[in-house]
Point group: C5
Chain length 361, copies 5
């Protein structure tokens, strides 16, 4: 739960810094970072591939490579000067640069005359803290160059790099649009990984609740619902992004990529289905929990009521004959004590019968 709150707080801090600035001002609004932005360039075509680690921003030229695809990856958007220089090199609109450094964008696709801008949220699950961690990924697709901007080093795309290096497969043959697809597909696939973890948590909470669980589980359920709400904010717009990508004209659609996009779109809808399913299930769990609480309360109250209604009258009778009046005729009557016992036993039996008839046992 602390995790979700952290995410929430982070998100909120960001926007307020911006109020009052002119639109298009490139100002980083996220958490303070203490590392330098790192630029990695991968050049690949069907026949060769090359990686340039820690490239200097000055070496990045506008021109596409002679052949194949160029993938420029930048980790560390907090270093605004780097972003601005990239922006200048590729003539990106100031609003795009603002969106890149202004984390917590809603996933979206913006088409410009000569390039595409895609904003997405990479979602991972931190197993230690049961936290969902989101990181903004911005992608510029300009001719055969793809530029990706990330908040932090380390990402989900090591598999893609591996596929590029291994020199076989579709990725090396097809253009930068396929690379863009491959990155989005990886992000969507990770939604399932996260949803699966949430599903596990949901299962655990359910088992606990069925076993008359403690208050803690309800707090867990509440925080899980919150994570689902936050996750939804990332996943829902992604569907639109992929949907409009397949309709985009800038995006060099060849038939092959179109099929893949449809596949990614299907996956996205499936993730949304699962999300909504979990939301409904957690609501149903809450209902069940409330009903089970009431049920247990009923049991507790019945116990109290049975014991009380049996013994309170008996205690009263005992109290009567504990009085110290001089002339209580019963005291001197020989069988009084026995009769009192008989009366008390009869009352008890009647009560027990009454409760049994009412089905309280």
């Amino acid at each position: 739960m602390k995790a979700a709150k952290a995410v929430l707080s982070k998100r909120k801090k960001k926007s307020s810094k911006k109020v009052g600035l002119a639109p298009g001002t490139v100002a980083y609004v996220g958490d303070a970072r203490d590392f330098d932005a790192a630029i990695n360039v991968i050049l690949y075509s069907e026949t060769k591939d090359q990686e340039i680690k820690n490239a200097s921003v000055k070496d990045i030229k506008f021109e596409d490579p002679a052949e194949g695809v160029r993938w420029i990856n930048i980790d560390g958007i907090h270093q605004v000067s780097v972003i601005e220089q990239i922006g200048q090199t590729f003539s990106l609109h100031n609003l795009v640069l603002e969106d890149i450094v202004h984390t917590d964008q809603r996933p979206k696709l913006d088409e410009f005359d000569s390039y595409l801008y895609v904003a997405a949220q990479m979602v991972t699950y931190d197993a230690d803290s049961h936290q969902i961690v989101t990181e903004q990924l911005s992608i510029i697709l300009i001719n055969n160059t793809l530029i990706s901007f990330q908040e932090l080093p380390g990402d989900l795309f090591e598999g893609i790099r591996e596929r590029i290096r291994s020199s076989t497969g579709r990725l090396r043959r097809l253009g930068a649009d396929y690379l863009l697809y491959a990155m989005l597909d990886t992000i969507v696939d990770h939604y399932f990984a996260v949803l699966e973890k949430i599903g596990d948590d949901l299962d655990e909470i359910e088992v606990n609740l069925l076993n008359e669980a403690a208050n803690q589980d309800i707090n867990d359920l509440h925080s899980l619902k919150r994570e689902l709400i936050l996750l939804r904010k990332s996943i829902w717009p992604m569907r639109e992004v992929i949907g409009s990508l397949s309709k985009s004209q800038t995006f060099q659609k060849n038939l092959s990529t179109e099929i893949y996009l449809r596949d990614a779109y299907d996956h996205c809808i499936r993730a949304i289905d699962t999300l909504e399913l979990y939301r409904e299930m957690s609501s149903s769990l809450m209902d069940m929990h409330l009903s089970s609480l009431s049920n247990r309360m009923n049991t507790v109250m019945k116990t109290l009521t049975i014991i009380s209604t049996i013994f309170i009258p008996l205690t009263f009778i005992a109290g009567v004959y504990g009085m110290n009046f001089r002339n209580m005729p019963e005291f001197d009557f020989k069988y009084s004590y026995a009769i009192v016992w008989i009366v008390m036993i009869l009352i008890t039996l009647m009560m027990v019968r009454y409760f049994r008839k009412k089905g309280w046992f």
Copy 2:
């Protein structure tokens, strides 16, 4: 309930295995299976029919039979090599093969240039465990050949095979598109069978709840709601599948099949209606149950309160005259005891009247 959980868990396990693989990688992600994939081919036309059991994958050729329809059924998608060979023979797209072996697809219809791919969920009800069991069915329609892929041996289509063998009726006269329709229609019909079982369970739970049922019934209701949520995930998209099938160009629509498709579409909507009706009814049941719990609690509390408020003051009076002070004038007064009894009876009568006026009896 255990059943629904099992289904849920199965579903979740699948997707995570895939994360990191290239799109289009044909990797089976379901439960481990210990049987070999079995291929059965049925050839039929208006005049003749022939069944080839346990055909070898190598014998399957791309070419359609000279006349009539070829139905290739494969049980056991876990044997990926078989699926890949079929894929090669019929030039299926890798993404389609991936979808075939990647169970828990959302029902969908994908149109390709030369073939159709339909994914559906066969839903059956295991009476022993009160479980809904879902199994993925993938269908490829390519010219006059229909290829169906199932997870397990045994299916819902024995009736269709019987109709083919019996050599009368529409099925033998019409093409592969009618066969596809007949299979989807069978699946939709089975939704009703499952919904009927759920309706019976719902009736039983209702009767139990009206008879002041135990906590168990609420857990049953919760698990029933979960099954409805899961079932919905299978049925809702089916409507779209059938709807877009009737609009598909690849699908060789003759007027006859179109009428049947409309009929299947109507059935699908009816199944959805019934599903939503059950969902609303289970919600209403939950409300009624909560209200009835509160009501019962009220009854319990009233009993306790009536007994307590009558006897606690009386016990107090008895307690007062059980005190051992030397000079309590009442002790020596002759009629004290009788007066105390009279007072106590009066108090009781007043209380009873008060509660009666309040309508607690």
Copy 3:
């Protein structure tokens, strides 16, 4: 409530019988009936009218009457042979025949080349059992002949027959399409009659709930909600039926009928509005009831708590001086008894003041 359950059970029983049969198989799936199907034919034109009771199915010819309208009404769809013969005479599609005998159809309109098929649900209210009774009505409109199929003898259309016999008015002048409209209009009008009865029940339940009603009323409310859910299933699709009827080309629309259809459509929407209004009201009633239950519980608990917290300490004090220790100095002190009484009265007053300050009185 029993009624709604009966309806529900009936509905469920039907579908499962069909699973496994070929589509278009004409098999009756409803309750067993012990009467013979009766065919009544009414021939009317502007100038004359004629009724043929208990016509034989063999006498029914395909040809329209020379002039005017032919209305063939069949009570008893369980006699499948009759339905099939009619189907043969008028070349009806097998799927239509299946829908006719397969009761519990969703109201729908199917257009064929030469005829229209309309399925509707006649809804009546059985005052004795507070039950909604639904009966399927199937209508075939083919040229100037209208064929209606009903489950049971006795229907809502006696008023229409009366208007035909009385030889005045629009009905005699206009064609079979107007007759179809008149029948649907009658069905829609009966929705209001049923809704009115439900509204009366709702009013009664509300009055009872406001008067701190018993648990029974909540069960009534629950069953009323269920009837609304079932009713909705009949009324909602009717709107579509009438809507698409006015767009149908087969349907011989003259301007006159079009205006009437729009009127029926408006009525249908009004019925739906009322239905949704009742649904919301019953939800609001449930909320109010739950709140009122809590309120009453609060009152009960306050009574108990006031009595207990006043008398339990007093009883304790009395108990203390009922102890039998030898050397209890208070026993010998002359004013002890009076002081104890004073203390007890003071405690009582303090308690009363405390509760009054808390607003519990």
Copy 4:
């Protein structure tokens, strides 16, 4: 609340009278009235205006006045003969006449070849009974003549008449379409007056609920919700009416009126917004109330539990030493009494500490 019920009951009574009649039968179905229908005609143009009170229905001719606008207002639709004569004079369709006398129409706009029919609900708030009172207004716009039908004498349009009489302003200059607009605008404006009153009631209920109000307020809230539900039925369709009016071809749209219609449409949407806002607020109030009830119950129970758990054990101890066994060694021990007191005080302190630690004080 009684008011809303009255409205509800009225609404329900109406429809059932109609069942069985031929469509287009002009039969009044509302409450019995004991006054005669009154016809008032206002003729006005830019230069002159004339009012004819209590005109005879025979004097009403079909022809428009030579110049300017004719407004015929009829109070008392229960006098069906008058309505029918008007209908004959202006060749109105029977269905329209039926709708006019059949009160409780859904607001709607029906276009005919030569005239427009508008049905609306005038809503006012009866301050004495906190009731919403609805009255049906039917308007026929036929060339430059506007005919309005009301259930009762007295209406919302005195302001419009005043503006006509005062001979300045737009109303006198523009045609009958502007008069129609002005009437609808007045009705929409009255929605706000009614909503405002409901808002005041809502505020009052909220203040009462925050001050731990009585059960009465919840009943008020329930009846307020019901009035909102009923109001919604009047307001929502009004938006469509105004929307389609601006698209109507019969309606003589000049640019001027179009702007005013857009304005009325905006007001309508604003009224709907406010309505929905109140609905949400009343739901939120209900939630808050339920939570506050639970909270108070908690307080009550804590009080009871604290007092009981402290004194019940003490009373038990006193009871033990009130026993009359011969050989109870404690009785003869000198300090027994003091020790018992010390033990009892210790127990009390422990209990108090325990409850304080639990945060119950």
Copy 5:
């Protein structure tokens, strides 16, 4: 909470004053104000800028400045004469003037032949009173002149003025349409500032609720929900305003502004997303709170029940032997007292074991 109520009350007071007036009557309906309307004019072009403070309404001419943009800002719409004079100068429609002085408009965009009218709600958060304060802003865009009408002095646009004065940047280069955009963008940005504050309140309430908070927090949550409902009323229609602005033909769209509008539109959607997220979170919090209340009640009741069920039977036993019958054989038996103690301890142990088995400890 008081704040939200104030806002609500203000809103409601306004509309009722208007009922009965002719449409287009310019009558101020808001709170009484005691300051004079102030007019400030800013003239700017790419090369120069000029501010005229407290301009007289008579000096305002219809003609645009020779070059650049004219921004006329009017604080104080309660002075209707000023508004009317402006309206006359620029030939504004009376309905527009009515909307300007009639505060609490729904945000909207009205296009006229020669000018645009935009109504928006400026939302700020008063930190002292935890209040949302809304103020209506009306904007007229007519050629290169922008006229803004505000209720009160002091606004959100000081940043824009600063950017105009600083003579650098886009604002000075582009036309009045960009100024309009910049103002709307500022308003949308302030939504985030307000949402952030609400998010902080929500966090605080959540922490308090998790720490078993007092009733006060629920009232806070209720008032927060109300502020969200009110805020929603301002933000939702803003999306439409910006959306239709980008489609407006009057609005001099150059490509540059279009991109900015899209950006503002995205921000608006993001604000709506956050709003809905907070609404869902506050609902989830309410659920959690109710569940936690039930949980605590359970704990309280268990404590009471355990203590009562253990001690009530023991007290009964003690009461029995406190009776004063002559011939109670136990009294004379030597070990009676010890046996009674043993019995009582055994009963206690049994009870404790029973409760432990039930999991109540």
